[in-house]
Symmetry: C2
Subunit: 283 residues, 2 copies
């Protein structure tokens, strides 16, 4: 489907490439959506592959681009980075802005089935279908895609890759919510977006998806050991057990002293970018 | 003078070192002040030299540490970075919070002589005397100091170095307000803090200080050519002329396409850190 060109909102030169913010009318969410794209200098002369970055609770498209320091490495490697927002905005659904972990800023990368959320909160379709199609139509990129994210966005990256064999060449995550059907953040979000049938939740849970995955891409994960959310919300041990049980390759790197912040992400983003670039540049 | 130990406010591991925020009761400003210090991994075993970073209008100690990507290079080079706030806060002076370019977030690194500002707005003494003394007393650092900054903080870095021969081993700036006595931001700030006698302003203007400087440290400056503030507020041409006239070494690098944002700073901070590290590590 041909989509209208997105409208440029802001533009900053960065490491000899360009960081650009756009808005567009999303047919998936029925709202205006904003995203950011970093185009490395190589994109001025040839199409480049794309890493999709999914952010965590409360974030917009801006946090990663301002705080992770990823553009430096992306400019060296010739990889574009696309960062969508974390939810539709301004739908004015009841309670949309009442909590940091549900509604705006907390779309959880699922397709909501419960009213009133199901009309707009379809972030899974948005980030796996509509946004890549828009990017590949209007920017100098190849159809090679990698995906990564942080916390709620780490969960998002994992489920997007696990549910779409062949769509991404590589996947990684920082401190992902690995087993949302068994943690407070996930239970709150899935109850609201997906309803009370816990069976239906399993289609959106990495640990469940790993058991039956049709593609066994290596999962690269960094997890800070001083992360206050690790035990109750993130559950790297559940991810480890699910991968071990299914024979799914996992490189889980526990990082002593590191917390849940962007200072942790910045410290290890270069490793992730190099991991993705190796896969993205294979012909 | 022995100063009480500052109180830890926050701490994040970052590139194997530690970013820490502290608050302390400042005798210079008569207020509580917050600052950030990044201690590279080398500081765990030996004292390290310090780069002082002065931020621009509206910033706190946080902007640079979150957005510049400097910790990666500081960790490699073994250099600490100290970022003070840009003004006293919460003095509740009339009009303190009315504009972005005067009062809180806009101390301009001068010692105010006009009431009511003179009681608290003494950021020059704070950043050149009280803060370094505090840092050198309570942290594992050497007395080797370098200084840099952005915009208002670029002005600050230049005047601090020019007014204190021997105190800093190197100085640099990003898009500094080079000639504040001849631009709207400077005229507004200096009128408010220093009064109507324009002669008195000259003691706080880089271009004026360069004419009579007792030490001729190379000045390293990066300036984006797409910076919206360049012509009216920053005046790199005035800095160039002042240096040429006085025989002061200036390395002014004009950067096509770059603007006034932290994306510009992030793109070139590594060059500045390496410049400072060369001077800081000379014995």
């Amino acid at each position: 489907m041909t989509q209208a060109a997105p409208e440029l909102v802001a533009s900053n030169k960065c490491f000899d490439g360009w960081l650009k913010r756009y808005k567009h009318s999303s047919t998936t969410t029925g709202t205006e959506m904003v995203f950011a794209i970093y185009l490395p200098p190589q994109a001025q002369t040839q199409p480049v592959p794309v890493l999709y970055w999914l952010s965590g609770l409360t974030c917009t498209d801006e946090n990663f681009m301002q705080k992770a320091g990823a553009q430096r490495v992306a400019a060296e490697l010739g990889v574009a980075i696309v960062a969508p927002d974390t939810s539709p905005r301004d739908t004015d659904l009841p309670g949309e802005h009442d909590s940091y972990d549900f509604g705006s800023g907390a779309g959880f990368y699922v397709n909501a089935t419960e009213t009133p959320w199901s009309a707009h909160y379809r972030m899974y379709d948005y980030v796996t279908d509509e946004l890549p199609a828009l990017i590949e139509q209007h920017f100098p990129v190849t159809p090679k895609r990698a995906i990564s994210g942080h916390s709620m966005g780490g969960h998002g990256a994992l489920i997007c890759a696990l549910k779409n064999p062949g769509r991404y060449v590589s996947v990684s995550a920082f401190a992902p919510i690995s087993n949302p059907i068994n943690c407070p953040w996930g239970e709150k979000a899935f109850s609201g977006y997906l309803g009370t049938d816990r069976e239906a939740w399993k289609a959106w849970d990495s640990c469940e998806l790993i058991a039956t995955a049709k593609e066994r891409l290596l999962i690269l994960v960094d997890q800070g050991e001083a992360d206050d959310f690790m035990q109750e919300q993130l559950k790297p041990e559940a991810l480890k057990a699910a991968c071990a049980s299914a024979g799914h390759q996992l490189e889980l790197r526990m990082r002593p002293g590191y917390d849940h912040s962007y200072f942790f992400i910045a410290s290890f983003i270069e490793d992730h970018l190099r991991h993705h670039a190796r896969a993205l540049k294979q012909t």
